[in-house]
């Protein structure tokens, strides 16, 4: 472990206590690893989840093997003051959770790690914490409240959010802490190009996966199968980015090819289930408004036509409506 990378490293930014908000897959991977290098609290939605973490610790298997000693609670009022908050709840739960956090840890730096666009704005509405934007490419499988498997050990990218005066020193300190914990972090002075690369990638891949119920397999890059649709969705996203003057950090189609190649060769049974597909299969609300929906809204703002992205956005909204309770028909009410 990098001796210089521990907590309390000189540079004015001290990160002794981290609070991970949300104990899903990403939140658990962060909390478990970070518990090696600093004090970690986990804010959970369910009390029994917090009790189990306090009792058993948090087990990480796969690319890392450890049992992290973490503190946990489901009550914001029980959290001690912390230096860094990592908001790792699903985008659809963000508004509610950020409202609960209002007034907590006034001196903390907050980091968002949600898919899509707009998480920083939601958090910023509930406090004036300096915000760090991030996008993560790591993935895992959550086996239980106290056990998550670390699968793709790819990096998390961090950058200061332009809406708050977040210092590069703070971003660098967080990246050092994450790297020291055994995860991988990279610092960007401007994260927007990388955020948009991932947004466009997710808008195409997650949407197509959710609708076809396919994991991200080779068909997504196959010219005789889903390749043309995925490519057309990506092209629409790129046109929106271009209209906004954003130079993408990575080409989303290349990201698709790479992910598919990794899936096909690295482990034959590897097939990543994009989170939106997991949500669809579990009949949970999806993050579509933050992903394809965000592309549609940005496109409208910039006067770019995105008919296919609009179509998948509408189809997923329709799919979500299919597991709401059937509404009473006007005819049944009787007039």
């Amino acid at each position: 472990m990098d001796a210089e990378a521990g907590p309390g490293t000189p540079g004015a930014v001290t990160l002794r206590r981290v609070c991970v908000i949300g104990g899903g897959t990403i939140g658990s991977l962060l909390a478990g690893h970070l518990s090696r290098v600093c004090e970690v609290w986990v804010l959970t939605r369910r009390a029994e989840h917090a009790e189990r973490l306090e009792r058993e610790g948090l087990r990480i298997s796969g690319k890392s093997e450890l049992v992290g000693r973490v503190r946990a609670t489901s009550e914001v009022s029980e959290l001690p003051a912390f230096d860094l908050g990592i908001v790792a709840v699903k985008a659809t739960d963000l508004e509610q959770v950020a409202a609960l956090l209002a007034g907590a840890a006034p001196d903390a730096t907050m980091m968002t790690i949600q898919n899509g666009l707009g998480a920083e704005n939601v958090v910023a509405r509930h406090g004036d914490w300096p915000l760090i934007s991030s996008v993560t490419f790591m993935s895992g499988t959550r086996h239980s409240d106290a056990h998550v498997e670390y699968e793709l050990d790819t990096a998390t990218w961090l950058g200061p959010w332009s809406g708050t005066r977040t210092s590069m020193a703070a971003v660098e300190a967080v990246a050092r802490l994450i790297n020291a914990s055994g995860l991988r972090a990279e610092v960007f002075s401007d994260l927007v190009p990388a955020q948009w690369s991932k947004l466009i990638f997710n808008s195409a891949i997650n949407s197509v996966a959710a609708l076809t119920e396919l994991p991200h397999v080779a068909l997504f890059a196959d010219e005789d199968a889903l390749g043309p649709v995925v490519g057309a969705l990506i092209d629409e996203g790129k046109a929106v980015a271009e209209a906004g003057g954003i130079n993408l950090y990575e080409d989303p189609w290349e990201m698709n090819l790479l992910a598919v190649a990794r899936g096909e060769t690295n482990r034959s049974d590897y097939a990543h289930l994009p989170s939106m597909l997991e949500d669809v299969l579990a009949h949970r609300p999806t993050e579509v408004e933050f992903i394809a929906g965000a592309v549609v809204r940005e496109a409208a703002r910039r006067g770019v036509a995105v008919p296919l992205t609009a179509a998948v956005h509408r189809l997923i909204k329709g799919r979500e409506a299919s597991w709401e309770l059937p509404r009473t028909r006007p005819a049944e009410v009787g007039v």
């Binding site: 076809t212 119920e213 994991p215 199968a225 889903l226 649709v229 049974d269 008919p307 189809l315 028909r329």
Partner: protein
Amino acid sequence: MRVCVVGTGAVGSLFAAHLAQVDEVEVWAYDVAEPHVEAINRNGLRLTGNADLLGHVHATTDPADIPPCEFGIVATKSMFTRDAIAWAAPAFGGGAVASVQNGVGNEEVIAEHVERVIRGTTFPAGHVVEPGVVNMDTTGDTWLGPFEPRPASMDEVSRLARAITAGGMNTIALEDARGAQWTKLIFNAATNPIGALTRLTHGRVCELPETRRLVTALVDEGKAVADALGITLDSDPDELVDHAARVAYEHRASMLQDVLAERHTEIDALNGGIVSFGREQGVPTPLNEAIAALIKGLEHSWSQPR
């Protein structure tokens, strides 16, 4: 008159049972589902729901049993047209064969095996309740016309239409049945896959502004292709969509039923048909193309390990 219905799922059974009500028509049914065929031979073919009748029908799973017929009515799912007509064709050596299937492209396949072909479109729908029993879910008209490249005579078309009408299903003989066919094609291609991808009933698809707008966008692409082909539609498919929402709110599109049962869908004959005719005419159909690819992907997901 002897008629053989090829494929007696829901729609084929509606035709067979209604035709069997007409004294001078002898009805045969060719199907691969043995329990259904046995039940029909034992108890007759029973319709419930919007029709309540019992038809005396000769059913068989062996095409060699079918005696020479004046007319054939192909009512299989479109992906089975090729096999079904290849097997049944010898019975139609001197006859004319109609398609009453979904989508476009079926008549072309039938014409590879028989001399005279009738283009057909039908609106009644149903579902198989149990072997030998089919519920008629919706009523509606059927349109028949000569298939232009290998046409049956107008006299033949009219005789078949009169027989079906006499049996209780109103059928209209037309010189050009393409308008009726494309009206239904565009309607189906705009609504079926939306129901299948969202799992929503037809009424809910129309109620949600998001999905309703998508239906119109798909209809518009289909209309542009029909236009380029010089086809005058019977009615506006977009209005049919709203009409269907009123009369068939709870209807699950057949493609949705297929998806729920993890059966292959008719996407190739529906959106796939619009795409290939569009390509031929130089009319872009990007939405239909995307929807077809998504449905194909969904079909593929059933063979993924899980």
